[in-house]
Amino acid sequence: MHKFIASIKKEFLLLLRDPGGMIILFVMPIVLVLTITLIQDATFKSISSSTIEILLVDNDKGKLSDEIQKSFTEIDFLDPISVIDGVPLTETKASQLVASGAYQLAVVIPDRLSNDLEKQININITKILEEFSGEEDSLKIDMIKEKVSGKTVKLYFDPITQETFRNSVIFAVDKLIAKIETKSIYEVFEKELGESEGLKSFNRDHFVTYQQINPSLSGESIVPNSVQHNIPAWTLFAIFFMILPLSLNVVHEKRQGTFVRLETTPIRYATIIAGKAFLFLLVSVLQFTLILLLGIFVFPKLGLPILEIDNNLGLLYLVALSSGLASIGLGILLGTVFHTHEQAAPFGAVLIVLLAAIGGVWVPVFAMPETMQVIAKLSPMNWGLEAFYDCFLRKGSIIDILPEIGLLIGFFISTIVIAILYYEKKKTI
């Protein structure tokens, strides 16, 4: 036991006297979580609030385009501009402005949209009414035979705009046009049928509405925000980032000769790595505590939503500890297998990024291709992330996170056993 304690003490002193290591382990995760959350929160706000200026080219100049312009101003996150420097926008000018990156989006309303849409609706309604009444009006028959070509509303996107933003805009424009079309249909009906009392009593409100509900495992409804989403993902990334300094620590121990000396003393390899594992486990707990404090006390002061942890603190620490163990196991395995910093550092760094990408830190697993979804289940970062989401967003209990905790601890044990076996095997070569 005293060898284990001596190893912890030694690792603690070495870490304490390594400012670079301290920055990597404690400052970088805070900077990372803070930066990513601020950026993602800003992105979220920029999509959901009326802060994005868009160009609107009105080639129609009719009733419908007025309606579209009016409706665009009602969309929270879009601010339409149709005149620049006192000159109405043209499609060419708008295209240039978007291509140069000055604006992210231009909407081009086609020529004769109001006129042609009205005509098309008239044709459709006349057809219906003719069929109902059984009467034939030669003038109207001529109108039905008339062909009206379809209209295209063009959307110019800045190439750097992300898919989520494009989809949001397309969805909003689509909804807006559908609403205007419906309104126009009602108006034509009114015109054709006369202003009967029955028509006036038409309920034009949406019959089918939707309600957004975020069910949780505890039964209560949760409103997730960018902080609740980002803290688990990036905390986990920070915990797994420990792979790098830990593997380098093991490699450094081997390179500087102290490891050879230790090998000639009656200490087991397991005890040497247990000392390192224990200290780095403490580091992961400290990292997690700092990030929680950041989310609770600092984020609100920066205009970010507060991190809500409710009564899940114990479970959250259990997930952080298990994730820390998985990260430590992998760090020690890499440090055991590799001989130089040049091997361990790039491999470790790329591996962390890969595990994060596969694990769903950047792109949610459900949005990945089917094969990647299967591969994602193999990433310890995905196990940790799912367990964190169970705690933070789904308000799960210990039963809900036990499978992930089991996988993380199993991964730790497996990597440590492989590292020890590899070390023992290496001695016989």
Partner: protein, 251 residues
């Protein structure tokens, strides 16, 4: 009755991926209380042999006995009574001399209070007490060598391995180290020592083994070895005569 403290029986070592033997059927006996000099050119197999005797690597063939016990079957027990002083400074540069020694000393069953006394005593004997609480990275080469030596002998081992213990140090440090080795030997420690300083080996060693290309090519007391070679005035002459003048560069 087996009188040899260390008995090396037909030990060979071929590293994986190589097509030559680093050690080729070495048989050697080292008696208790000897200062045994293992000398040889670069790449001769000295470090491999010492690594096998210390239990760091396994031989491809053959056995090593320590007081009649096979080393690899009694690895942990034997590690308690051997001390190793590697050629590199096997110390943590960011820890002080005392912190380094406390850590390495704690690998043995020594009470912390006793360990502290031992550390103070050794540091004082080697002129390092004023620097006990200075970080190793601030030490000169000679000071590091002396701390390196103390780290290997804190637990009073009965067998000490030293790999080039005086390389790159000034005369004063060299004298302090060799005096300490003689004192340890007088206290009963058996010492196995490798060096390229043949004058130092001649003065220090009671027996010398010259190894080349993985084989022991000569073994005797320095005086006997010198007398065996015609016109040889010292161990260096013997060494050159036996191993040749060809440069031993290897990669």
């Amino acid at each position: 009755m087996d009188n040899a403290f260390i008995r090396i029986n037909n030990v060979s070592k071929q590293y994986r991926g190589t097509d030559f033997l680093s050690l080729d059927d070495i048989t050697l006996n080292i008696n208790r209380g000897e200062i045994y000099g293992l000398l040889g050119p670069n790449g001769a197999g000295k470090t491999t042999l010492i690594s096998i005797i210390c239990g760091l690597i396994a031989p491809s063939k053959g056995e090593v006995f320590f007081s009649g016990k096979e080393i690899h079957k009694n690895n942990r027990a034997i590690k308690k009574i051997i001390g190793v002083v590697p050629q590199e400074y096997a110390l943590y540069p960011k820890l002080t001399a005392t912190e380094n020694l406390l850590y390495f000393g704690s690998m043995y069953d020594i009470r912390t209070a006793d360990l502290r006394l031992l550390i103070t005593s050794h540091l004082e004997q080697l002129g390092l007490l004023p620097f006990a609480h200075k970080k190793i990275k601030t030490f000169s080469g000679g000071m590091k060598r002396r701390v390196n030596l103390i780290a290997g002998i804190l637990h009073n081992p009965s067998l000490i391995f030293l790999d080039e213990p005086t390389v790159g140090v000034d005369v004063q440090s060299k004298k302090a180290i060799t005096d300490k080795l003689i004192a340890l030997n007088q206290d009963g420690a058996t010492i196995i020592y490798t060096s390229h300083h043949l004058r130092e080996a001649q003065d220090l060693c009671s027996k010398v083994g010259i190894i080349d290309s993985g084989k022991i090519i000569a073994e005797d007391t320095p005086a006997n070895l010198i007398s065996r070679i015609d016109k040889a005035r010292n161990l260096e002459d013997v060494f050159i005569e036996l191993t040749g003048r060809a440069l031993r560069d290897y990669a």
